[in-house]
């Protein structure tokens, strides 16, 4: 006879109790509704006070320009760009119905953000008690990163919304595996695929997670997962073929650098603290060894990473890590705004970590988290060092000092869109390299620069050179003018955006409003 020495894990009952506690009939529904309303009010208040009225940014100008076209032409333009079309189709419709100004366009993003709030709460509730999930919601509603994109006429809060919807459905799949959950997850997968390419990394993370836990799930999980994959591929195939037929965005891809470890850490820093000046951001990310302390503190008796928590961990890190690796192996596309689907999961994990600490410590640290988040949003809204603010409105107002005999030269060429949105001056506006906007954006050819610049300056008195979004030749452009002409003024309306004034001609009449030399 033998004796068995390895006793099986006896945790089923405990998991069942925890699950029951989480799914207990909702008490304090009024509180939940109240906190949602307060959170929505906070989002709207921040937007009104700090963000909705800001200057149009480059990408927003792109959105407006693209959605100015008919639906057919819009699809064509998007196919030539590096995005998928759903947001733009919705935005065009929105503008047709409600108005075509930038403020109206931004409100669409705000609506997506507001719609995200209850979904965020549901995701948070999967791993947190009601009280902590509501706290997480409040932090989410004051998050500088989320608020920034909640007021930008781009697709990022739509991506956030569809990601959260996908996560709610996915967590239901993981929890019970009912058909309705699978249908919901499949539906959000198809929609998400048409909102942003990055959503495929969300799906990848979900697929890998499902495969990892499939043995413990009811029903034929792998088969159903395969079905969802087939559905998404089938749904996306028409667009993919259309995209290929339109050149695969070969001429419109932005030149992005290969991401470094700093870029990787900046993603998470921005998720939590928003867009801060370089010194502040450097200080924050340099304190990363405190994560070690956090990890040590998270080792607690009885504290387990359950399936929902494990998924959120995957959702917070795997898509970003995958994007980082792909950016190194295939092509760089690593921008923190693309990673926005990972932000809610990270926030929930941070709150979950705090919730697991001792009651007094957790309250203090929760207060600190909220204070830091609000401070981050405040600084982001008010600081002139905000690294992602683009004040083309101020640049245009400065350039409006130019007279009819002057010239405004914008470089990089595509930045002419936000500039033109505000510019109402007397001087003609051109780009360098010169761009025939009936065709795709021009490429820079160094030997051609003198000739092109000369053709622009001939016959003009002053050139207002508006430099932003360096595509690798900004210094060449600047050096050309600086080495030949007298620079009479220089302005920096925002980080990375300069307005330089050069005297290129010597007529007897000084232009009206000319700045002092």
């Amino acid at each position: 006879m033998t004796a068995t020495l390895d006793r099986p894990a006896v945790t089923v009952g405990r998991h069942a109790r925890v699950e029951a506690a989480r799914t207990r009939p909702r008490r304090g529904r009024g509180l939940v509704v109240a906190v949602h309303l307060v959170s929505a009010a906070v989002v709207v208040a921040w937007s009104q006070l700090a963000f909705l009225g800001r200057s149009l940014r480059l990408d927003e100008a792109q959105s407006l320009w693209q959605t100015n076209h008919t639906y057919g032409r819009l699809l064509e333009l998007i196919a030539q760009d590096v995005h998928v079309p759903l947001y733009h189709v919705v935005l065009r419709t929105w503008r047709l119905v409600l108005g075509d100004d930038i403020g109206t366009a931004r409100v669409l993003s705000l609506v997506f953000l507001l719609a995200s709030l209850p979904l965020f709460y549901l995701v948070a509730r999967s791993v947190l008690t009601q009280r902590w999930a509501l706290f997480a919601l409040v932090v989410f509603s004051t998050s500088p990163f989320v608020l920034w994109y909640g007021n930008e006429a781009r697709m990022y809060t739509m991506l956030l919304l569809v990601t959260l919807a996908s996560q709610v459905a996915f967590l239901a799949v993981v929890r019970r595996g009912r058909t309705a959950a699978w249908v919901g997850w499949a539906a959000t997968a198809v929609v998400g695929a048409y909102v942003h390419y990055f959503f495929f990394f969300v799906l990848l993370a979900q697929g890998l997670f499902l495969l990892a836990v499939s043995r413990r799930l009811p029903g034929r999980t792998v088969l159903k997962l395969t079905g969802v994959v087939v559905l998404v591929v089938a749904a996306f195939l028409p667009w993919f073929l259309y995209f290929r037929a339109n050149g695969s965005a070969s001429g419109t891809r932005p030149q992005l650098p290969t991401p470094s470890s700093v870029d990787f850490s900046n993603v998470y820093s921005q998720f939590l603290f928003g867009f801060q000046s370089d010194p502040v951001n450097t200080t924050l990310v340099s304190a990363w060894p405190l994560l070690v302390l956090g990890a040590l503190l998270s080792v607690r008796v009885g504290s387990r990473l359950d399936r929902n928590g494990a998924y959120l961990l995957v959702a917070a890190f795997v898509p970003v890590l995958t994007a980082f690796v792909v950016s190194h192996l295939v092509t760089p596309f690593f921008l923190s705004r693309y990673m926005v689907p990972a932000a809610p999961a990270l926030l929930v994990l941070v709150v979950a970590f705090l919730a697991g600490l001792g009651p007094r410590v957790s309250k203090v640290l929760a207060g600190a988290l909220l204070a830091v988040t609000v401070a981050g949003t405040t600084v982001q809204a008010t600081s002139s060092d905000n690294p992602v603010e683009e004040d083309y409105r101020a640049a245009a107002e400065l350039a409006e000092q130019a007279g009819p005999r002057d010239l405004v030269v914008v470089s990089s060429p595509f930045t002419i869109y936000p500039f033109e949105y505000y510019y109402d001056g007397a001087a003609r506006v051109s780009t360098l390299p010169v761009w025939n906007r009936q065709q795709s954006a021009p490429t820079y050819d160094a030997p051609e620069l003198p000739a092109e610049a000369q053709s622009l300056t001939d016959g003009h008195q002053y050139v207002y050179l508006v430099l932003s979004y360096d595509q690798g030749y900004q210094d060449d452009v600047y050096q050309y003018f600086a080495s030949r002409y007298e620079q009479t003024a220089a302005y920096a309306p925002s980080d990375g955006l300069q307005v330089l004034v050069f005297r290129v001609g010597y007529a007897e009449v000084v232009p009206l409003g000319s700045p002092p030399a």
Partner: protein
């Protein structure tokens, strides 16, 4: 994500997830390789020291994952086994009430064969005032009492003394404060049906784990050892004796000359000798006796020091790698267990690196702090996750903090072993009089000195560097090391506000005649 209610024996229940074990080793390997080869080297001395510490960590991680990879599964067992048993209850000044509870429980054990219970009274040779009370207790309970009159060999000497005066085929040993369950013998003795089975070890469970911070942390530390580690060692034929709650084959112990009296960790070394002679061992992951944890900082400190010194002596005097008769698994397992106590040196090096940077600007490697983060953070996180998972969520932050803060204790033990010196503790465990915690801050002076050094170094570093990313990163590291030492320092510091005057020990009511009360 949290589940506060755990089965109190849940530390025995987790089955390891091998994917995470593989991941842990892979991350550790990648991290070590990156640190070693991918980054430009800074100060060569610091670099060499850093690599040595990282290799130590890597070996410990690989060893840990190997150990917990699978639990011991099945052993031959005869439920009708009835070999004669002598039960030894080792006593050395413990309160009579505690000894009484243990003895009564021992007498109440079910067993088909002959059982004799003996009190091994070392109170006289240890100069304890109540040694006569134990003899009176033996009369009261009608058990034998062996009171030694000639000192020597500490607990091992006490057991050997009794071995010479008894004749049972098997010996079961309980510390005076470890109360056996009624089914101890019927659950344990059947393993001796294997004629080469030298000893059977069961967990050392602390029934008073909730009494205070020290007992709680001491128990948390035990869970990892008596959960996955001992089960893994048993699988590898390397489960060793832990001094109590164990059953021994008399002939096996006598074959190696009795319990080893030359080493402060007599159980560890005797196990090695038994394995060397080809005797087998098994660890039964089932709580069959409930004992008491050290309940104040000094007792905890002494216990840890004893284990550390005993283990380090094994490395330096009985190096398992060169012992004949041991399998390679056994050699490596003994070395891993013993070398764990070298981590004090490794920890102090890690703690001093930020201080050295702040004072001098010297670093072991030259790289972006964020690049370092990218390889270190995942490695660290999966490491802790595996620790938590393999302990079935029974391990705790304070257990880690106590382990990491024991560097001075371990360095002192290392020095004592290398210098061949005896160590005495110049503090006593007297109560403060109002029921609070006594003052043991003298035992954590090195940790306090580290904090003071860190503050000075921070001033120097800030004056030299200004508010640079490097300063920030090293300040954060310094904060981590200081935070780690805080629970250890707090546990050593005096307290005047005890939460409870009397702590009930949660004994098994059906197994023990009366509950045991422990005064704090």
């Amino acid at each position: 994500m949290t589940a506060p209610q755990l089965d109190r024996f849940s530390f025995l229940q987790e089955i390891p997830n091998r994917a995470f074990l593989v991941g842990n080793v892979a991350f550790a390997l990648v991290y070590t390789l990156v640190i070693t080869f991918a980054f430009p080297h800074g100060n060569p001395v610091l670099f060499g020291v850093l690599i040595a510490t990282e290799v130590f960590h890597l070996v410990q991680i690989v060893g840990y994952c190997w150990t917990v990879w699978r639990r011991d599964a099945e052993r031959a067992f005869d439920p009708a086994f009835a070999g004669s048993v002598d039960v030894f209850i080792t006593v050395c000044g413990e309160p009579v009430d505690i000894v009484r509870a243990t003895t009564r429980a021992a007498l109440a054990m079910d067993y088909p064969g002959r059982v004799r219970v003996h009190l091994l009274n070392d109170g006289l040779v240890a100069g304890k005032d109540d040694w006569r009370d134990i003899e009176a207790l033996a009369d009261e309970l009608d058990v034998t009492c062996f009171t030694r009159v000639t000192p020597g060999g500490a607990k091992a000497g006490n057991i050997n003394h009794a071995l010479g005066r008894t004749d049972g085929e098997y010996v079961v040993v309980f510390d005076a404060d470890h109360v056996p369950h009624r089914d101890f013998l019927v659950t344990v003795m059947g393993f001796f049906t294997d004629e080469r089975m030298g000893f059977v070890q069961t967990p050392q469970y602390y029934a008073n784990q909730h009494a205070n911070r020290i007992t709680r942390t001491a128990w948390d530390q035990q869970t990892l050892f008596f959960g996955p580690i001992m089960s893994g060692k048993s699988r590898l034929g390397s489960a060793f004796m832990c001094g109590t709650n164990m059953a021994l084959r008399r002939s096996a112990v006598l074959e190696v000359g009795g319990m080893c009296e030359e080493n402060i960790a007599e159980d560890f070394l005797t196990s090695l000798f038994l394995h060397e002679r080809g005797w087998r061992s098994v660890y039964l992951p089932q709580v069959l006796a409930e004992g008491l944890a050290p309940d104040d900082f000094l007792n905890y400190y002494k216990q840890q020091f004893r284990w550390t010194r005993g283990s380090l002596e094994v490395i330096f005097k009985y190096n398992p790698l060169v012992r004949r008769g041991l399998s390679w698994s056994q050699r490596l397992q003994y070395l891993l267990s013993a070398s764990y106590y070298l981590s004090g040196a490794v920890i102090v090096v890690s703690a001093l690196l930020p201080v050295v940077f702040l004072l001098t600007g010297a670093t072991p490697i030259v790289t972006s702090t964020m690049t370092l983060a990218l390889v270190f953070v995942p490695y660290m996180w999966i490491n802790l996750y595996v620790l938590q998972r393999t302990s079935n969520s029974c391990y705790s932050w304070s257990a880690i903090a106590f382990s990491l803060s024991a560097w001075w204790l371990q360095l002192s033990a290392l020095y004592a072993v290398l210098a061949g010196k005896k160590t005495a503790f110049a503090v006593t465990s007297k109560d403060v009089g109002d029921g609070g915690r006594p003052n043991f801050l003298r035992l954590v002076v090195p940790q306090l000195a580290y904090i003071a050094l860190g503050v000075v170094a921070l001033g120097v570093g800030a004056a030299r560097e200004g508010f640079s990313p490097s300063l920030m990163a090293n300040l954060a590291w310094l904060s981590v090391h200081v935070a780690i030492s805080v629970p250890f320092i707090v546990a050593a510091s005096p307290s005047r506000a005890p939460r409870r005057e009397l702590v009930e020990v949660p004994a098994e009511p059906t197994l023990v005649d009366e509950p045991v009360g422990v005064l704090r």
